[in-house]
Symmetry: C2
Subunit: 367 residues, 2 copies
């Protein structure tokens, strides 16, 4: 099995599929990239049993076959080859020669039989989403997925598709993020995708791409086809939180504030907070300003920012990180913060439109 | 004690002096930056008992006094203040207010009495060296200092100044780096400066600076005055290796090679080498080329590059890292590699001039 390909092509393919390779595994094949050669087409796959990434590049060959190469070594050798064309030549004893220019490496390959089977996902009836839109949906909600394995379903994000609209939803028990967009899809879908796979997809999604992302889903797996890369993963099983019931329908106080103002203010609070020094951030909304103060063993901060306050004045305590994560995920210059009272969930929405809905639970303030 | 200064000025001062602050110490004051206020001049010092960095900034004040502030907190709070002017106000109970715009922090300061005494170095008879030259001298020799505390003197670099010339020398027993420049200094000096202090100096040295670096040295300490920053450290005591005797005076083979060619080739070798897989890199110099090969448990590499070879053909084994470090430190397009035989020290000098002399000991090749 022998093939020659462009250094540039194979480097970028390795770079992307290697993101799905286990950095450390007791099974050598899982630290590898699987190569499947079919004449002039070379398929490269990285798969850590949780997420897989596959892509294809053109090559010059008249052979077919499969082999696995240690990802790190394959990547570094390829990147450092002195020539623009690189030839890979594997014999029946798994000895691999890699050569180009005056340099020739000999390393050991791994039999493809040791590589795990990949899930089969039929490429029919794709859900199409604009790449830039999907990227923003992932990046604006991912912060609210749970890092805790106690409820595995919450380590993923819900895709709730109906009536030609999609809600992407993440929730960890303390905050909830919903991102809505209209899409061109008449079907109804309801499935939960692991957060890590979405972050990998986000990395490959391009903001200025011409092609939509194609999503293929069956009862067990999902495949994102993006710019020639196929990212696949198992769907999470279990019952997702009925998120629509958690969104407050009313408010007594609405605050309109410049997003960067309140973000910078909360970032100043974060300097006083760490594992050993915890305290709620107290926010007083009233009289045309938000007063923010925070006091811990490290010190105290008194700060205030201008805001438009409509309705009753209110004092609410927040977990600084939760409020900050939500406001950082807001991509609008101004946000509306809607509150019912000190101990009720707080809702953050864009100044205009309904693209995101972020819910943050308050923290009780003593005394 | 109260002063107001520009955010920009104090941020950059903190950023530089904090490099000399202990990241972790049982003495809280050593994790701090010492501030000494003298009316409109504020002195900031970081000092980890080994290296110190001091600088001055202008401020608006009519007070004098000394105080220590935790470096990390001081830095982060200052950097995140919302205003261009920041006021620092310390009361007698070590309570410090930091305010600007609508934000006001209150944190605890540390008494300056807990800060260690700084060495006193008279600022007389400076040795002057062009900043760009000194920076290159440090960066081209520092690789060869010893990381091993067994011979503390070798963890520093020798400044050997006489006859209006300076040799900067580093040696670790396996390689030797000498960097020579003419300087405007009639005195004779011979002292050894800790490597870490030189790296800090290098960081502050500018390539396009108008002013020379001023060096003040006494029997125990050295002070570099660079762009308003004073870096001071204790000199290393002990007898430095008589380096001039280690430089071969003759050669039987001289190789002229493009520096980047051989560097890239040795970098390819390094992919086959790690803690568990060690082997010499075999270099055969002859017939208009350098053949390089390396074989370990990871695999093997056969490579070759064009070179001009004068004299006998020779096969020499090298520790890949030692040869690579030396060649990477060479700042000329081509180098001359001069050899006497397989088991004799190898000398690397510029194609033209005498700015550097790098000596690398070979590794014996079995069989």
């Amino acid at each position: 099995m022998k093939f020659t390909c462009k250094k540039e092509d194979i480097c970028s393919a390795i770079n992307n599929v290697s993101k799905a390779v286990s950095p450390k595994s007791t099974i050598a094949a899982l630290e590898g990239i699987k190569l499947r050669l079919d004449m002039s087409s070379l398929e490269l796959t990285g798969y850590d049993l949780e997420i897989g990434i596959t892509t294809y590049i053109e090559c010059d060959s008249s052979d077919t076959g499969e082999i696995v190469l240690n990802s790190r070594l394959f990547s570094e050798i390829t990147r450092r080859m002195p020539s623009d064309l690189i030839t890979y030549d594997i014999d029946d004893n798994l000895n691999m020669k890699i050569y180009g220019g005056n340099a020739e490496y000999q390393i050991s390959a791994i039999s493809a039989e040791e590589y795990p089977a990949l899930p089969e996902i039929e490429r029919e009836n794709p859900i199409l989403i604009n790449q830039e839109v999907l990227k923003s949906m992932i990046n604006q909600t991912n912060y609210a997925t749970s890092l805790n394995d106690a409820k595995p379903i919450l380590t993923g994000e819900l895709f709730d598709i109906e009536n030609s609209g999609i809600n992407m939803v993440a929730i960890d028990g303390f905050r909830l993020a919903i991102r809505y967009e209209k899409i061109n899809c008449a079907d109804k879908h309801y499935f939960v995708v692991p957060s890590k796979a979405l972050l990998e997809a986000s990395r490959i999604l391009k903001e200025d791409a011409e092609n939509d992302c194609e999503i293929f889903v069956n009862s067990k797996h999902i495949l994102f086809d993006i710019n020639g890369y196929r990212i696949f993963t198992r769907l999470l099983e279990g019952e997702f939180h009925n998120y629509k019931n958690s969104v407050p329908k009313e408010f007594k106080t609405e605050v309109i504030v410049k997003t960067s103002d309140i973000v910078h203010c909360l970032e100043r609070c974060s300097l006083l907070l760490n594992e050993k020094n915890k305290a709620p951030v107290k926010c007083t909304f009233g009289n045309g300003e938000i007063k923010i103060n925070c006091k811990t063993g490290i010190g105290r901060l008194d700060d205030s920012i201008e805001a438009e306050i409509n309705g009753e004045s209110v004092l609410i305590g927040f977990n600084n990180k939760y409020l900050l994560d939500a406001l950082k995920a807001a991509d609008t210059d101004k946000v509306r913060i809607q509150m019912i009272g000190a101990n009720r969930a707080v809702k953050i929405v864009p100044f205009q439109g309904d693209s995101f809905t972020f819910i943050v639970m308050p923290v009780q303030i003593k005394g």
